[in-house]
Symmetry: C2
Subunit: 268 residues, 2 copies
């Protein structure tokens, strides 16, 4: 089942269930609590797809595929090998944008790259889950693009602007509750051409390992998300590029890259 967060023209955003890949059956409520059909049905082509959810806590595995780890070591000049344990990291809600929204490249950004990632969406509050029970708290899965500025990633003490500049975290297009990770492949296309391709399950630490280890120390809540990391290397992106991240069974997250507008306005 595909949970879609959308806005119909002139209406507030709502959740709905995608049917036959072209229409949305609107519900009152959310996937995380009580919900019932409103009776309204929308054509997918006539609504705006919104970010599937604003996470309560936005977790990210970071380095979690072997090829990508080697490239990261090369970037930082740090010969550190694979992480020895599943230590989760964080991204920030300000940076989220939806399917088909623009990623804005700041005027002082030099080396912007994509990272196509599987996203786990938590549906139930969970603590002290064994690896065997770990997936019991998962509502479903979506796609993320962990857009990164590599020079800031190397120079800064944290990932705040390299990873969390406004618009650097496309997520969507929807939450799929049925997913066969073992059969899934992640494909990233740049301007229509396949540039990155990997088996989605080729993780160093898998979803069960992360959830079990995390819930040993912390509570997962409905609306938390965990981005599972990426493999391979991205080319350097430029204004006008279109990046599509497709994961088997989950759909395709597409975003275009634009330049920061001149004459930025101070607001508060």
């Amino acid at each position: 089942m595909k949970w879609t967060h959308f806005s119909a023209p002139g209406a507030a955003s709502a959740y709905g269930i995608l049917e036959a890949d072209d229409r949305i059956r609107e519900v009152r409520g959310t996937p995380f609590g009580a919900h019932e059909p409103t009776g309204a049905v929308h054509k997918l082509a006539e609504v705006k797809i919104e970010v599937p959810l604003l996470p309560r806590t936005f977790y990210a595995a970071g380095l979690n595929y072997v090829k990508h780890i080697r490239e990261y070591a090369q970037l930082t000049g740090n010969p550190v090998a694979e992480p020895k344990q599943a230590d989760i990291g964080y991204r920030a809600v300000n940076a989220l944008v939806a399917h088909d929204e623009a990623v804005v490249i700041p005027s002082d950004a030099k080396q912007v790259e994509y990272e196509g990632e599987l996203v786990v969406v938590i549906g139930k509050q969970a603590r002290h889950l064994s690896e065997a029970d770990a997936l019991s708290c998962v509502l479903g899965y979506t796609i993320g693009n962990d857009v990164s500025e590599r020079l800031w990633q190397a120079s800064d003490r944290t990932f705040w602007r390299s990873k969390n500049t406004d618009t650097f975290k496309p997520m969507g297009p929807w939450i799929e509750t049925e997913f066969d990770l073992g059969a899934a492949e992640t494909t990233v296309r740049l301007n229509g051409e396949v540039r990155t391709h990997f088996r989605t399950a080729d993780m160093l630490f898998d979803i069960r390992t992360f959830i079990s280890r995390m819930t040993h120390y912390l509570t997962l809540y409905p609306g938390d998300v965990i981005w599972m990391g990426t493999d391979g290397k991205s080319p350097q992106l430029k204004v006008g590029d279109v990046v599509e991240v497709e994961i088997t069974g989950l759909g395709c997250l597409r975003n275009h890259f634009v330049a920061e507008a001149a004459g930025r306005k101070s607001t508060a």
Copy 2:
């Protein structure tokens, strides 16, 4: 004005304004939007103080006082000197607890310490603020205790469990909208005895610097918080300890430390 988030016996939590340090004038709404008095007044002594807010994004300056930076370098064996620029970090909402709630020391934690910190609460959406205008987006200030397990902080690839284990982030007791940073001192008492004391304004990078630099790349939203870092060194905490963090004009955040209960229950 002191914005207090509280629960009266048998009622849902609400915001109110603390008056004469002993009673709360309840409002309908929140400090971040429209609000009006409900007419109800509660005795402070008869309500439960709640976490002042669940931040939308939970920012933390981390290393931002010179003495603390030297001690951190000693801990990690890393001779890195002061940060060269104001790079903001993150903490996680799962870890928040309120004034007078317990901090739970996990059974496998070895070296737990306090960090008394000034917390900035954002009240207005803000982007591209100059240092001169930076404070225009601030609603007020509160107090945080950035409880940390130092061995995990040194061993793990991220601060996920060293800083964000459930209950490791006491925040409160309320949000004070009037604050004289220049006159403020931070005092931390352990079991009633002063153990740490520093000028709150002695930051390496001040609030204006952080907000201006952050909003060059990202949007701050109402309900974001920025924890400004700590100075000095904490003794090692143990079960039964009571830690009070007091900042001039903001009040006192008090929490007691307890052991993790045996027979933890798996939940999802």
